[in-house]
């Protein structure tokens, strides 16, 4: 769609070479689940003569490994617990429910950004550069910043092809808010024809409009205050995690039930707790939680230091080697290999 629109608008010359066009449409690294590439970014790369570049090849492999690490070590491990709790939320203590809600935020990030890393890494091994799709979104200090860092290829796609044509912020605040609500509802529908995705989109629309209304007031926080920044990051994370409840739940009713159990501090009957504890002992115990916690901290430390494309390792061959070996060992020793496919494949 973006190719057709860009050619129509005159921003991109129509591709006359059938093979190049076919390659653009079917480029395997990003075919299934993005990043959604614009023709301006990628088409010209297909016209360039590519020569094997060892630095790019190693960089690409590193990114693939990192994506695999995020998927099998973190995301699939967290999925075990999240799936258990979401299947029968009534069997779980409200603390378990809260943990599942928070862990799903990490799970979906690792799953989706892991896939993106594998896609970008695969393209890079061949010398092609795809756009960054995630830029540490859970460090966002507000919902607007979150959407500038999460699934960047689709958020910019909706901005350029829906929000701006609807008027953007050029036709007054009321129309701007209406356009935003439209964009988020469409974004929800993009994930599937399910009321839960619509609810998720609507929640984000409410968050975004509320934030913009607040931003427009004279009451502004001290943006360079460390504690205020931490608080903002935490609040944004909590709001996003809350919205993820609707995204993850099978139905609106189930999502509402989970929220109900959370706020009513649900405590299941002793026999149910007993059976649940036996299950958790073997499937997701304190060790699993400790391993998950450790690798989540590692994830955020590495991503905070290395930038999303992991390019800091390019000039550090020794660190690169150690990093790669450690990641491979983490995958071999701690990977969960009997789990699901990538979440975003279903979309």
């Amino acid at each position: 769609m973006s190719y057709t629109i860009e050619v129509y608008k005159g921003n991109q010359k129509a591709e006359k070479h059938l093979g190049i066009y076919a390659l653009y449409v079917m480029f395997y690294p990003q075919l299934v689940a993005g990043p959604i590439e614009r023709p301006q970014n990628i088409l010209h790369q297909f016209h360039e003569t590519k020569v094997f570049n060892l630095v790019l090849f190693k960089s690409g492999l590193r990114l693939i490994l990192w994506g695999l690490f995020k998927k099998v070590v973190i995301s699939d491990r967290l999925a075990i617990y999240v799936n258990l709790v979401y299947e029968h939320p009534e069997h779980y203590h409200y603390i378990n429910l809260l943990l599942a809600v928070l862990l799903f935020s990490i799970q979906i990030y690792c799953d989706f950004s892991g896939y993106s890393d594998i896609a970008i890494g695969s393209a890079r091994t061949m010398g092609y550069e795809l756009m960054t799709n995630f830029n540490r979104p859970y460090f966002a200090k507000n919902i607007q910043e979150f959407w500038a860092k999460w699934h960047i290829s689709i958020s910019t796609w909706f901005r350029d092809y829906v929000y701006i044509p609807l008027g953007g912020n050029r036709n007054g605040k009321r129309k701007m808010y209406l356009s935003l609500v439209t964009v988020f509802l469409l974004s929800g529908l993009w994930h599937g024809a399910n009321w839960t995705f619509l609810a998720w989109g609507l929640l984000h629309a409410v968050f975004m409009v509320s934030y913009l209304l607040y931003k427009g007031t004279k009451h502004r926080p001290l943006t360079n205050n460390f504690l205020i920044n931490i608080f903002s990051v935490v609040v944004t994370f909590v709001l996003v995690s809350f919205a993820w409840i609707y995204f993850r739940a099978e139905s609106i009713t189930k999502a509402n039930d989970i929220i109900g159990y959370l706020f009513s501090m649900n405590k299941p009957a002793p026999f149910v707790e007993y059976l649940r504890d036996i299950k958790l002992k073997f499937i997701f115990n304190k060790f699993s939680l400790a391993v998950s916690g450790f690798f989540i901290v590692v994830l955020f430390l590495i991503e905070n230091w290395s930038e999303p494309n992991m390019s800091k390792f390019d000039d550090r061959p020794k660190s690169d080697y150690i990093f790669n070996v450690l990641v491979i060992l983490a995958i071999i020793f701690f990977g969960v290999f009997r789990s699901t496919s990538f979440i975003y494949f279903q979309f």
Partner: protein
């Protein structure tokens, strides 16, 4: 290359940790799957076999050489697998006692807790059954460190604990020829609540296969059901036992039933489904007497 070497060493370290933590479970699985001793009677089933039947008591009262091959959490598929794996390396016993409970008639078609069997893939029958659970069983058998890909957090945790000298062995437990009793704790009154969980329709596929395997190997199969703490609150258990009763009558299999026995009080139980140490001693004695009666009458 370095990652491969480290992975292989890591596998050896993890396996040794698991053996250290589970000396009992490891050695009994080793006996069931690789052992050669000739037993007259072997008990199969779930934890209600493993915790309840004491072979030392059975041996002393019946004069037979028995072994407890019950495994916690086993469904009928796993029992069938263990039986065939046992028969792969052992001379067929004269009798097999198969404990009947909810898991016997569950329609689960996967082997639960299959990771433990990663260390026993040398047994051909076992490897055959696990082809559905693990991909490339042959590679797992020949290149041990590839089994790391199937380890779960439970096994990893166990391996670490094993290396810190922790084991699964608890005090006040009886161990004997595959049997491990529970402790002597008794169930609290507050824990005696109705089991209202839904149970799926019974599936006897593997039970019928076990009957055939025993017939082919000229083994006398005996069904048994262990005591339960309450009967009236478990109508679905009654239905399941009735289904097995039907099969037993049709196939002329003796069914030694203790689920309706009045000989047990709540003081004999550690939880809703399991006897404590003294409860299992009482049960083993009563069971041995029933066994003698059945064997003499036959």
């Amino acid at each position: 290359m370095s990652a491969t070497v480290i992975a292989h060493l890591g596998y050896i370290i993890i396996e040794s940790g698991i053996r250290k933590f589970n000396p009992f479970s490891y050695s009994r699985l080793d006996e069931i799957v690789n052992g050669k001793e000739k037993f007259d009677i072997v008990f199969f089933g779930s934890s209600r076999t493993q915790c309840h039947i004491n072979p030392c008591i059975i041996d002393s009262l019946t004069g037979l050489n028995s072994y407890n091959a019950g495994k916690a959490g086993s469904n009928s598929l796993e029992v069938r697998m263990l039986l065939e794996a046992y028969l792969e390396t052992h001379i067929p016993p004269k009798y097999v006692v198969y404990n009947i409970d909810n898991l016997t008639v569950s329609n689960l078609n996967t082997v639960p807790n299959s990771n433990l069997y990663l260390f026993f893939l040398n047994n051909k029958k076992m490897a055959q059954y696990l082809e559905g659970t693990f991909t490339h069983v042959e590679i797992l058998r020949l290149i041990p460190f590839t089994r790391l890909l199937y380890f779960d957090d439970y096994l990893r945790n166990v391996a670490i604990q094993g290396h810190f000298s922790k084991t699964e062995v608890l005090n006040s437990i009886n161990y004997c020829k595959g049997h491990a009793s529970n402790t002597q704790d008794t169930i609290k009154d507050s824990e005696i609540v109705p089991n209202i969980s839904k149970i799926s329709s019974p599936d006897l596929t593997h039970v019928l296969a076990i009957i055939e395997i025993c017939k082919e190997n000229k083994i006398k199969l005996i069904f048994n059901s262990t005591p339960v703490i309450y009967l009236n609150n478990l109508p679905t258990s009654n239905q399941r036992v009735a289904k097995i009763d039907e099969v037993a009558n049709r196939s002329k299999i003796d069914f030694i039933r203790f689920d309706t026995s009045k000989a047990f009080s709540k003081n004999d139980f550690i939880d809703l489904g399991h006897l404590n140490r003294l409860g299992s001693i009482k049960y083993s004695k009563l069971f041995a007497n029933e066994l003698n009666r059945k064997l003499i009458s036959n």
